[in-house]
């Protein structure tokens, strides 16, 4: 009689390509990344950093109501997106705007959603950072945690039925794996043999809940086998490792029609969101350590620079351009008028029902009769 021990004597090893100084670890297998792709990846990682910084500050200044940064997780955001095909359907959690950025969402489009103005594709229906784009195959962000996991299995199933050369890719944090939907999503994807890549960003914290209080397993990667799912643990702060792992996982998912699980180890440098002050529950020097010494952007920059593909001059030009563009985008988005009143009643259903038509008419009449009760510039 032998019990399987609650934990293995050795933790599952972590796949990495670059060491902390940005040098390729010898005798390693990885998907090579040429100059053009590498430079684009780096530029986008740096842009994401600038975007996060500026939008965060805008919230602090009271110009937008809420924001959520991806600081510390730039490699996961950009490298995973770079490894996918544009036909792959992404079901994000909420800390993956870099995937949308990679696919072509502009800084202006990000700003419009945060300000909920008339140009927002979301028509002002959702709070900031709940981006979505049908055109870019990125599903609109939904707040309840982990609901996207079984939904991704459903999307994968539909791609399978239509025999498309594409997979579903879905993201989840370490905390989200505690949800019942994590179990349901992985179990189903395995049973249905759906082409889904599950990417777990294990960043150590779920608001103030540390991973030691979230689960007692060796992270998330060990859970894959429990569902019959091929899994890998990867250094999430190593852009090349993330790129290789996601590239390979995607191939497996599509050609073998099976789900794959990737656990990307990283650290949430920022607060959970602008509603959080993480210094209340974790040491300030822990945050500093990860921000300075384990920074994924700096690490990848070293490799790109060592190859002669990037310079200090390129760096300052990129950052100042990105900053300028963002500040302009915010100024423009702020000035842009808000959605007209009719958008309150649209899209509840495919076709507006009679009761809403009546209510819309009633409200229009009220606004016309009592304009002083409504803010200036409020339009119907």
């Amino acid at each position: 009689m032998k019990f399987i021990p609650e934990s293995s004597s050795r933790r599952v090893p972590c796949y990495r390509v670059l060491d902390e100084d940005g040098r390729i670890i010898p005798d390693n297998d990885f998907v090579p990344v040429k100059e053009k792709l590498a430079v684009r990846m780096y530029e986008q990682m740096a842009t994401l950093q600038v975007m996060d910084h500026i939008f965060y500050e805008a919230q602090r200044q009271g110009r937008i109501s809420f924001y959520l940064t991806s600081v510390g997780e730039e490699a996961i955001n950009i490298a995973s997106a770079a490894a996918l095909s544009p036909d792959d359907i992404v079901l994000p959690q909420y800390r993956e705007p870099g995937v949308l950025l990679w696919r072509g969402f502009t800084l202006e489009e990000f700003a419009n959603q945060c300000f909920g103005n008339k140009a927002d594709y979301g028509k002002g229906r959702q709070m900031p950072i709940h981006y979505g784009s049908n055109r870019l195959n990125y599903f609109t962000i939904s707040s309840p945690i982990a609901t996207q996991l079984p939904q991704a299995a459903g999307v994968g199933y539909s791609l399978k039925m239509e025999k498309k050369n594409a997979c579903a890719v879905t993201f989840i944090g370490d905390g989200g794996t505690s949800e019942g939907d994590f179990h349901a999503g992985l179990n189903f994807a395995a049973v249905m043999e759906a082409p889904v890549v599950f990417i777990c960003r294990n960043n150590g914290w779920a608001i103030s809940t540390h991973i030691s209080e979230q689960f007692r397993s060796d992270g998330i990667v060990v859970k894959g086998q429990a569902y019959g799912i091929r899994s890998i643990r990867v250094d999430g702060n190593d852009a090349l490792a993330v790129y290789s792992a996601v590239r390979s996982a995607r191939e497996m998912a599509v050609t073998e029609q099976r789900p794959v699980l990737i656990e990307a180890m990283t650290y949430r440098v920022g607060h959970h969101s602008t509603s959080d002050d993480s210094t209340k529950y974790r040491a300030a020097d822990e945050i500093q350590y990860w921000k300075m010494s384990r920074n994924p952007v700096n690490r990848f920059r070293k490799w790109v620079e060592d190859n002669g593909w990037w310079s200090e001059e390129d760096e300052s030009k990129l950052r100042s351009n990105a900053r300028k563009q963002l500040l302009q985008a915010i100024q423009a988005a702020e000035k842009w008028e808000k959605q007209p009143l009719t958008e309150l009643f649209n899209d509840v259903y495919d076709v507006k029902p009679k009761n809403l038509e009546e209510q819309e008419l009633g409200l229009k009449e009220l606004v016309e009769k009592q304009p002083q009760e409504y803010p200036p510039g409020f339009h119907v």
Binding site: T140, T147, P150, Q151, V155, Y157, D347, P353
Partner: protein
């Protein structure tokens, strides 16, 4: 399944009058021979799903026991053999799982028909129904619509206790973004389910286990594969002039029986079958009450915040000056459903309760 005829003795007068109303409710210039065709609700639902799957390859069925077992209540009988395991999918026991999968598949353009073994179990998946399915079209500003149907038995059955007997009509019908339907007859079942499957919005389709085996006359038109009933339109099952009885699902049958008994005592009751809980056909209800001046609403579900409460509010708001008596609400008892047969009977509306309420409204009894 087309062509399956159940020859069962049924009250000839009621069948013929129902058939006449069925014909007049449909837009058609043709006339039909008085019906010999009958169909159970089970066969009506099965044929509806079969025809919609045949017409549209994006439609697929998912749920526990729907495939090999032929359906927990045999509603999906024969579909696995006909369409294969990819389109008739037997799921593991995770309501949250298969509901989420259905929503995801709908997001991606398929048209899932998700079966809950009973809507009591839908509570384990209700976040997906409400926060994802119902609200996605609005939150995504029309980019993500969810053409999904959630169906299954709802409300009380017989001797199944508290966790298998709750009616969820009021819960789901309170949510904007959902459509909620409740068929009564075989024609309702066919027409409403076909409409639900074709609808681009998420639909909650509340069946009744005890009605599955019941046979109803069915017209040629209703048997046609293009047959569809409009969502949001109630049906006047029986015309009357003294009191309006509004209800849905199994209680429609009880209301019709009550109306017969009332007719013997000189009270002419108009019976309205809601068919659609959301959108609620307030126009038909109010037009009827303005004619009769009296309202009795009936449901099996819990009384507080029930469907009947909404109907009463609508009538009091819109037809107050037409009312000659206070509105009457008949609902299930405000207790979790007991198991013992005698207690269960006391916890649910009976025909006598409806008769008494109608008479109260007519000032004929206390």
């Amino acid at each position: 399944m087309l062509g399956i005829l159940r020859q069962r003795a049924i009250d000839g007068g009621l069948a013929a009058s129902t058939l006449r109303r069925t014909r007049s409710a449909l837009v058609s210039a043709r006339s039909y021979a008085a019906g010999a065709k009958e169909m159970t609700v089970r066969d009506a639902l099965n044929s509806a799903i079969d025809e919609e799957m045949s017409a549209d390859p994006k439609v697929f069925v998912m749920g526990e026991e729907v495939g090999q077992y032929q359906g927990a209540y045999k509603i999906t009988k024969g579909l696995l053999e006909k369409y294969g395991p990819e389109r008739v999918y037997d799921t593991p026991i995770t309501e949250a799982g298969f509901t989420g999968i259905g929503v995801g598949a709908a997001y991606a353009g398929l048209k899932p028909v998700v079966e809950f073994m009973t809507f009591n179990f839908s509570m384990q998946a209700i976040d997906h129904i409400i926060n994802s399915a119902a609200k996605s079209n609005y939150m995504s500003a029309g980019q993500i619509n969810v053409p999904i149907v959630f169906r299954g038995p709802n409300g009380a059955a017989a001797g199944v206790g508290a966790q298998h007997s709750q009616c969820y009509a009021a819960w789901y019908a309170s949510v904007p973004g959902l459509k909620v339907l409740a068929p009564y007859s075989a024609e309702d079942a066919r027409g409403l389910l076909k409409a639900a499957i074709r609808d681009p919005d998420p639909v909650v389709f509340l069946e009744n286990e005890l009605l599955y085996g019941e046979s109803f006359p069915i017209s040629e038109e209703a048997l046609d594969s293009s047959f569809c009933l409009p969502i949001g339109k109630a049906k006047i099952e029986r015309e009357g002039k003294d009191v309006t009885i509004v209800t849905f699902s199994k209680m429609v049958g009880f209301a019709l029986k009550a109306a017969e008994k009332l007719a013997e005592e000189g009270i002419s009751a108009e019976v309205i079958n809601l068919r659609s809980i959301r959108p609620l056909d307030r126009a038909t209800i109010n037009a009827s009450v303005r004619k009769t001046s009296r309202l009795v609403t009936v449901e099996e579900g819990f009384p507080q915040h029930g469907v009947c409460a909404e109907i009463c509010a609508s009538v009091v708001e819109e037809s107050f000056s037409y009312l000659d008596a206070p509105v009457e609400r008949i609902a299930g008892a405000d207790v979790p459903m007991p198991y013992a047969a005698n207690l269960e009977r006391l916890a649910l509306p009976q025909i006598e309760d409806i008769i008494r309420a109608a008479k109260r409204a007519c000032y004929r009894s206390k």
